[in-house]
């Protein structure tokens, strides 16, 4: 790490911080993926987690995933809340026996030294109603701040995980703010440079936060979104039906494209929810509809080659 130029050090730059995590997990044998090219609420939605967590095959991956939470937008006025932020996601299947140690070493790699920081594993049972998934694990605390989620997946998309995968999710902005010692996310040093060369998180994202907040809360086209939800839902089902080889429920050939539509439906639902056009009772039924899609995709996936059918 000493060989790193200053502007790449994790405690100086946001990008250096991300690169340090990627390098660490690459060292552990993970494939380093790039973000999935669709809007999603969390890194867990990435097929590299949701689908790859299913089936018997080994799978170790790490990636950054931009996460969209339309409801969390604050027009750029809140120091921590964002409608678009980054998650760093690690998935290891089967969960290795030393996963907790690996996690602590990864913190050391981004400048969090466990001899001066108080790191804790605090109970947190994770559940995603839209994904039909649950697991047990912890929120990881550093000096009283929640910095990661640590979950042993027990079930995903309605399918039992066998073997169990371990999932780590780091809230990148929050961690980087702590490491850099800034109180406002927009003040994060993005590129690690000083003076005129310095680019902050605000330079990159502030305008986007303002624009998307306006869009998400005031202007998004609900009529179109309602239609999009139905279209994505129907397409997902259609692709799932068409994907069974020779119409037999033995092998599936289109789980991934179908799952894309499930991701789409989920994000559209989040947009509608942020717009306040879904009532409390309807809300539950939309979540159920997305879950049904996720479950059907999981069922299809375990009949594909990567899902372990062959």
């Amino acid at each position: 790490m000493d060989a790193l130029p200053d502007h790449m050090r994790p405690e100086r730059s946001f990008q250096g911080f991300i690169l340090a995590l990627q390098r660490f997990w690459a060292e552990q044998g993970c494939v380093i993926l790039q973000p999935y090219d669709m809007e999603m609420g969390a890194g867990t939605f990435h097929p590299a987690t949701t689908l790859r967590a299913l089936g018997p095959k080994r799978w170790n991956a790490a990636y950054v995933q931009p996460s969209r939470r339309p409801k969390d937008g604050r027009y750029g006025e809140n120091p921590n809340r964002l409608q678009h932020y980054y998650q760093f996601q690690v998935i290891m299947k089967p969960s290795p026996p030393n996963l907790q140690d690996l996690y602590l070493k990864s913190l050391a790699a981004i400048g969090i030294d466990s001899s001066v920081h108080d790191i804790r594993f605090v109970e947190d049972d994770w559940e995603s109603p839209t994904l039909g998934a649950w697991g047990l694990g912890w929120e990881c605390w550093c000096d009283g701040m929640e910095v990661s989620q640590f979950t042993y997946f027990q079930q995903v998309a309605g399918v039992e995980c066998a073997p169990v995968a371990g999932e780590l999710t780091y809230g990148l902005e929050r961690l980087a703010m702590y490491v850099q010692g800034v109180d406002r996310v927009y003040d994060l040093n993005f590129n690690g440079r000083d003076g005129a060369d310095k680019v902050t998180y605000g330079d990159v994202f502030l305008q986007a936060e303002q624009e998307y907040s306006r869009h998400n809360f005031e202007h998004s086209d609900s009529d179109m979104l309602f239609k999009q939800f139905v279209m994505a839902e129907e397409a997902c089902k259609k692709y799932l039906d068409a994907g069974w080889r020779d119409g037999q429920r033995e092998a599936h050939l289109m789980a991934l494209p179908a799952y894309d539509q499930c991701i789409k439906a989920s994000h559209v639902f989040n947009l509608l929810d942020a717009r306040g056009v879904i009532s409390v009772t309807e809300r539950q039924s939309y979540i159920m509809r997305v879950r049904e899609l996720a479950k059907a995709c999981g069922e299809a996936w375990v009949h594909t080659e990567a899902g372990g059918a062959a």
């Binding site: 026996p97 108080d118 804790r120 047990l136 000096d143 073997p163």
Partner: protein, 704 residues
């Protein structure tokens, strides 16, 4: 005798599960030992975030030998029966069996001697079963083996097991077993950060000491004591005072193996937020203690956190980090509080029209209307101003829609009070926001301000009547709407404030309210409902009196008089009755009345008729009859007059006068006279005794 040391070392166990898990481990192991004939001397279990540990001392080294007799077939039984007998008992031939004489035919008996096994072998058999079937509230699979069926499940991944067994003076043996690839041994690990190396242990004393040297305090109580003592000292050093919080201390003790208390501070400007909000913020979210200034009783801008390490920088970084988080949290709380203050409570009410209270009971808005109506009706009965009670009921639920209560539901009511005061409401009206939820349980305070009392009663009675009307009564252990608590609340509000409240009448009015607010539900048995509900109150009252050590049969004796819907009077009657029955007069009168009742019920059955009606004075043959009739007349009059004045003690003393006459009657008079008319007259007289005592209670319901 040998001792057992067992440790199950895992990844972090949720704090809230640790105490029960330790207890379960001790119970399961010791129960099994006893069932195996291994009676031990003592056992103690411990839990830390990463381990469950158990020591059982004084276990016999071997099970006792067991001798059992087993009855076999008759002499000369068919060969198949004999062979089956030999096989089942392990005898080589019938020569090894004895013969027992029996009049119905002699038969074979096998004497089986089973020699006891070594305790360590028994342990090796029972411990894996206990681990595999451990009652965690939720358990999980992990790792490579989770793909196989029958994989071990545990609360979080289990890493190692210590199981040693042996006498104090010798090197103990390892209890040999393995579960899903984890071999029991004698190795554990110290503190995750400060002493992570493997440690080899022999027995409990050296286990506990070595752990301590490796920065692990095994005993949760010891960790809790350290936390509280250090926290108090830190506060005291600055002339402040720790706000003690046992529940929080227990939780924090379950989050650390090596507690280190540290003090941090936050900006004094946040002290403008109500203390309760600051405390909820710091406690619920950050698991930290708050500190007060003993001079003012108010919180100071300090907090105390418990770290799990002795940091090499003395805790500077840890304090700094926690301060950042707490600052951000308090900043949110302050924003919520100030935002809330900008909206008047009544301006929030329209939103309740969108919020369903219960699918069959309409919206929250409808419910608030009903409570208002009922509170106005109850107000004059409890000495409250009708206007204030109505206003209080109008606003009492409004804080449910505030930001602070959304964040901290446990502050409901309290925030309503603050916001009501801030918008200039009357003090009693504001207080009712908080107090109308009370009493929450048997230990909670009962409000005394009449406005609070009126709203509290209206709230609870509306709830009870509503759920009764849609047939959602509590059954067995199921009481999802806490209706038992609500009924007990009504009882305590009435009795402790000595209120006169005609429950049946108020319940009927609540039903009208339910109809007016347009619930579309067909109300179930609305005619029977008030009486039904009254019976529920009677049950609750019995439970409560029983818990206070009073006799619950007396409650039945009073309620079975009928028409008793004034709970305060019921309680007073029960009290007076209880005192009376403690006296000799009371006991004898009870005995006499019961005797009269018993004779009557036998004769009534025999004659298939009752003996109602006044006895004929002309048929009295002996002075004792006349004396009893006179006494009954007098007692009836006096008791009735006293009951009229609600003076139950005097009514009871009047009853006491009946006793000598009753005693003398039974002494001297034969009820079943040969002359039928005289017999009938005497039975009528007995019936009069029963009738007279009913002025205060139905004596037949009293036990003993």
């Amino acid at each position: 005798m040998p001792d057992l040391l067992l440790e199950l070392f895992s990844e972090e166990i949720p704090a809230r599960m640790q105490a029960k898990a330790a207890d379960d481990l001790r119970r399961l192991v010791t129960d099994k030992l006893v069932a195996e004939g291994l009676v031990y001397e003592g056992a103690k279990a411990f839990a830390t975030p990463r381990r469950l540990a158990l020591t059982v001392h004084g276990i016999p080294a071997r099970q006792p030998d067991l001798k059992t007799e087993r009855k076999g077939p008759k002499i000369g039984a068919p060969d198949a029966a004999v062979q089956g007998f030999l096989k089942a008992t392990g005898l080589k031939s019938l020569d090894e069996a004895t013969i027992q004489k029996d009049p119905k035919g002699d038969f074979y008996v096998a004497l089986i001697e089973k020699s006891g096994r070594d305790a360590i072998d028994v342990l090796a058999e029972i411990l894996p079963v206990i681990v595999r079937t451990f009652p965690w509230p939720k358990s999980m699979r992990w790792g490579e083996r989770s793909a196989r069926s029958g994989a071990l499940t545990w609360v979080r991944p289990l890493h190692s097991i210590i199981a040693t067994f042996g006498p104090e003076t010798e090197e103990p043996d390892v209890v040999k077993f393995s579960i899903d690839g984890i071999e029991a041994g004698q190795t554990t690990f110290g503190h995750r950060f400060m002493a992570p190396a493997a440690i080899s242990v022999r027995r409990f004393e050296d286990y506990e000491a070595k752990l301590k040297a490796a920065k692990v305090v095994l005993d949760p109580q010891a960790r809790k004591d350290i936390i509280l003592e250090d926290a108090k000292e830190l506060a005291f050093a600055q002339s402040f005072e720790l706000v003690e919080d046992q529940v929080l201390a227990d939780e924090v003790a379950g989050l650390v193996e090596w507690p280190v208390a540290l003090m941090g501070s936050f900006e004094a400007e946040y002290l403008s937020i109500p203390d309760e909000v600051i405390r909820a913020t710091i406690r619920n979210n950050q698991k930290c203690f708050v500190v007060r200034d003993p001079k003012t009783g108010k919180l100071t801008n300090k907090f105390i956190l418990t770290a799990n390490i002795e940091a090499t920088d003395g805790g500077k970084t840890i304090i700094g980090g926690n301060e950042r988080v707490i600052r951000a949290r308090l900043s949110d709380a302050k924003f919520f509080y100030e935002t809330d203050l900008k909206t008047k409570l009544e301006a929030r009410l329209p939103k309740f029209e969108q919020i369903v209270f219960h699918e069959k009971l309409g919206t929250q808005a409808a419910r608030i209307k009903r409570i208002e109506r009922l509170a106005a009706e109850i107000a004059p009965l409890v000495g409250a101003d009708v206007g204030k009670a109505t206003r209080a009921a109008h606003l009492a639920k409004a804080d449910l829609l505030t930001e602070v209560v959304g964040e901290f539901p446990e502050l409901q009511g309290l925030m309503g009070k603050y916001y009501a005061l801030a918008q200039g409401e009357d003090g009693s009206v504001a207080a009712a926001s908080e107090e109308h939820y009370k009493p929450q349980g048997p230990a909670d305070r009962v409000p005394t301000d009449p406005v609070s009392v009126a709203v509290a009663l209206a709230d609870k009675i509306d709830t009870l009547v509503g759920f009764w009307a849609i047939d959602e009564k509590p059954t067995g252990s199921k009481d999802p709407y806490a209706l038992r608590r609500a009924a007990l609340g009504v009882i305590r509000l009435i009795v402790e404030n000595t209120l006169r409240l005609p429950i049946l009448h108020v319940a009927k009015s609540a039903i009208d309210g339910l109809r007016e607010t347009g619930t579309k539900q067909a109300l179930i048995d609305s005619d029977k409902l008030p009486a039904d509900l009254l019976a529920f109150f009677a049950d609750r009252l019995k439970v409560q009196l029983r818990e206070q050590g009073a006799r619950h049969d007396l409650v039945d004796a009073v309620f079975s008089l009928g028409g008793q819907d004034d709970l305060l009077l019921v309680v007073r009657r029960v009290e007076a009755l209880g005192k009376f029955l403690d006296t000799d007069d009371g006991k004898n009168l009870l005995a006499g009345t019961k005797r009269a009742s018993n004779i009557l019920s036998i004769e009534e059955k025999k004659d298939k008729r009752t003996f109602d009606g006044a006895p004929d004075a002309g048929l009295y043959k002996v002075p004792e009859e006349k004396a009893l009739a006179t006494a009954i007349d007098q007692v009836k009059r006096e008791a009735a007059a006293a009951v009229q004045k609600e003076d139950f003690a005097t009514a009871m003393s009047a009853m006491a006068k009946l006793r000598p006459a009753v005693d003398a009657f039974f002494d001297k008079v034969k009820v079943n006279d040969d002359e039928p008319k005289v017999r009938e007259n005497r039975l009528k007289l007995l019936n009069e005794i029963r009738a007279a005592t009913r002025a205060v209670a139905d004596f037949s319901k009293i036990e003993g």
